[in-house]
């Protein structure tokens, strides 16, 4: 009698976790076990792949990889490591170091970094914006793109540029991808 409440709750938990609902199966890449037992994580991909991943100054692996969401946010926030707090650094020979701040979006959607490498294969306007000195926050590449497109839209709505000019501007921005 006393544990009836607990029993009901656990049954409810099992029902919801076992895929009765269409919602529980929407994450095609995440199996049930992963959903149940894996820490909330940040998926890190890079182009080209195989970049060394540094968290709080320590190498933790190579892309593609997944780190725990709290790894870039350790319990310490002391002066010595303050510039590294909340940041991930990607290093690959022949490419500029890339620093990404871990944001809400990183946790939910992962980090998809494009490195600025000597061979030019991955060069684009946005890459330069992402390659910044250590200790500085690099704006998210797609945030930047989104911001530019929003600006164009606003200018068009205000009548400051014509429809045709807006179309060309959008084209230029998207060609930079």
């Amino acid at each position: 009698m006393y544990l009836n409440g607990l029993r009901i709750f656990l049954i409810a938990l099992v029902i919801s976790a076992s895929g009765c609902s269409s919602y529980s199966g929407t994450s095609s890449s995440n199996g049930l076990g992963q959903m149940l037992f894996e820490p909330t994580g940040v998926q890190i991909n890079s182009k080209p792949s195989g970049a060394d991943v540094y968290v709080m100054g320590k190498k933790v692996g190579k892309t593609p990889m997944r780190i725990s969401a709290s790894a870039p946010f350790p319990e310490n926030y002391n002066k010595a490591n303050r510039s590294l707090y909340g940041k991930i650094i990607l290093k690959k020979e022949g490419c500029k170091d890339l620093i990404e701040s871990v944001s809400n979006k990183s946790v939910s959607s992962g980090i998809n970094a494009v490195l600025d490498c000597n061979d030019g294969n991955n060069k684009a306007t946005e890459h330069k914006a992402n390659s910044v000195a250590p200790g500085h926050v690099a704006p998210g590449r797609f945030d930047d793109l989104n911001q530019k497109l929003e600006e164009v839209k606003k200018l068009e709505q205000k009548g400051l540029i014509t429809k045709e000019e807006a179309r060309k501007a959008r084209e230029r921005i998207l060609n930079g991808l």
Partner: protein, 468 residues
């Protein structure tokens, strides 16, 4: 299993699966402002804060990240507001079962002794963030249980001083549930309830909560803080929230050392609190003070009711006298996060300070006839980091109450807590808590003296917490 239970189970399952949407973007107010995940400020889970969370709080909630600001021409000195007013909603749905002898036989008389779903048990909306370069704010509006309205609000004003790592600030606050430490507190020991790792039986894991420092309060704090060193708070307050006008007749002093360099990978803290002065009861203060940690911020009151409960004369004058010592260690063992807290609190039963006219001979933090004191230790271990934790806490306390008809002048009131948390996905968490109470307060004689609402000495709680 009967039909009713199946319906219960399915309805809870439905709500869980609806909430169980992977990759949810839902984030609470401050996370929206700084553009960081909750783990940036919180250790293991909300609401425990790490040293970065401490820095954010001591800076008066003014730090911004990716969020755009509205700024004037004068380099942000005239106006520096986030473009969006950040808000969040917290929702607690749960089940509570106690083992008291009085179980209601009809729907209208049933209590937690019968087992009780609370859907919701509580819900509130938060607003918080930056007012300008040096000023922040936090406001919590209660939506349920009724009455709805302003629950907690504070406005910290903070300036950096010295080499830039110190914050000198002042906070004006009013709280219905968090007491005089609400103005500025950054340790996770229960010095203020807001940062405790278990929100469902706080008097078992924190001595300050056992002596019921979570009272209505309004006041002004001055503070000096450095997240790498510690903080000092000097406050004047009144044990009242509504009406919010009156004299600041009580004093609050708080000092703590915090350090995250002493032991590599560990964030340490050691501090004390002193409460002093008196308060004036008005018609707006609830007629009963103390009497069993009936903290309105708790979802479940500690199960001893009746013994020692006293009625506050209205109007009347009462004492506000207590002190506490607390310590914490937040760190990692073999890749698993661990929170350790310890606290001791003491509230005497003595009368009014000299010079105060005849009033109520009692203490806001101890309505008993002997000294109320408590020593608590508690731990939370991350079994699966960022996902699942287990909790353990022990309390060794004297209630301050005599048991009529016995020779007991200060009944013992001990407790053991075992808990677990499980983060289903971003911002959705399941908390399980089991508490067992023991000591002279629960002996046969004491039980017979309990009011009809006596809820026994075993409590099980399951709560689904959603913040978005």
């Amino acid at each position: 299993m009967n039909l009713k239970r199946i319906i219960y189970a399915c309805s809870i399952a439905a709500s869980m699966t609806l909430l169980w949407v992977p990759k949810a973007q839902a984030i609470p107010a401050f996370a929206r402002q700084v553009g960081m995940p909750c783990s940036a400020c919180h250790f293991q889970h909300f609401p425990v804060i790490n040293s970065f969370g401490r820095a954010f709080k001591e800076g008066g909630f003014t730090m911004v990240g990716s969020e755009n600001l509205i700024t004037g021409d004068n380099n942000g000195k005239d106006i520096s507001l986030p473009t969006v007013l950040n808000a969040a909603i917290e929702l607690y749905n749960g089940y509570v079962k106690t083992n008291g002898p009085t179980a209601g036989s009809t729907p209208t008389t049933q209590t937690t002794n019968n087992g009780q779903w609370q859907l919701p048990g509580s819900s509130s909306v938060f607003f918080g963030g930056r007012v300008n370069q040096h000023t922040g704010f936090e406001a919590e509006l209660n939506m349920y249980p009724t009455p709805a309205g302003l629950l907690n609000v504070k406005v910290p004003i903070s300036y950096t001083v010295g080499d830039g790592s110190w914050n000198l600030g002042a906070t004006v606050y009013s709280t219905g549930v968090y007491g005089p430490s609400f103005g500025m507190e950054t340790m996770d020991t229960g010095a203020n309830a807001v940062h405790l790792f278990n929100q469902f039986d706080m008097p078992t894991i924190s001595a300050q909560q056992y002596i019921n420092t979570s009272t209505p309060a309004a006041g002004i704090d001055l503070y000096l803080a450095n997240p790498d060193v510690g903080f000092i708070v000097l406050g004047s307050w009144m044990p009242d929230q509504a009406p919010s006008s009156g004299n600041l007749t009580s004093t609050y002093v708080r000092a703590a050392l915090t350090n995250d360099n002493l032991i590599n990978g560990w964030d340490l803290g050691l501090g004390f609190q002193i409460f002093a002065g008196h308060g004036v009861s008005t018609a707006d203060i609830p007629g009963t003070v103390g009497g069993g940690q009936n903290d309105p911020g708790d979802f479940f009151a500690s199960p001893f009711v009746g013994i020692g409960s006293v009625t506050m004369p209205v109007p009347g004058v009462f004492n506000t006298k207590a002190y506490a010592i607390d310590a914490q260690a937040l760190g990692t063992i073999a890749g698993h996060p661990l929170t350790l807290i310890a606290s001791y609190a003491n509230a005497p039963s003595d009368g009014m300070p000299s010079g105060v006219p005849d009033g109520f001979q009692g203490n806001l933090f101890n309505p008993g006839t002997a000294t109320r004191s408590s020593f608590n230790v508690a731990a939370e271990f991350g079994v699966i980091p960022d996902k699942a934790t287990i909790q353990l806490a022990y309390r060794n306390a004297h209630s301050g109450f005599a048991v009529p008809g016995t020779t007991i002048t200060n009944a013992t009131d001990n407790a053991l807590l075992v808990g677990a948390t499980y983060a289903m996905t971003l911002n959705v968490r399941l908390d399980l808590t089991y508490s067992h109470y023991s000591g002279e307060l629960y002996d046969a004689v004491s039980k017979n003296l309990q009011a009809t609402g006596y809820a026994g000495n075993d409590v099980f709680q399951a709560w689904l917490i959603t913040a978005f």
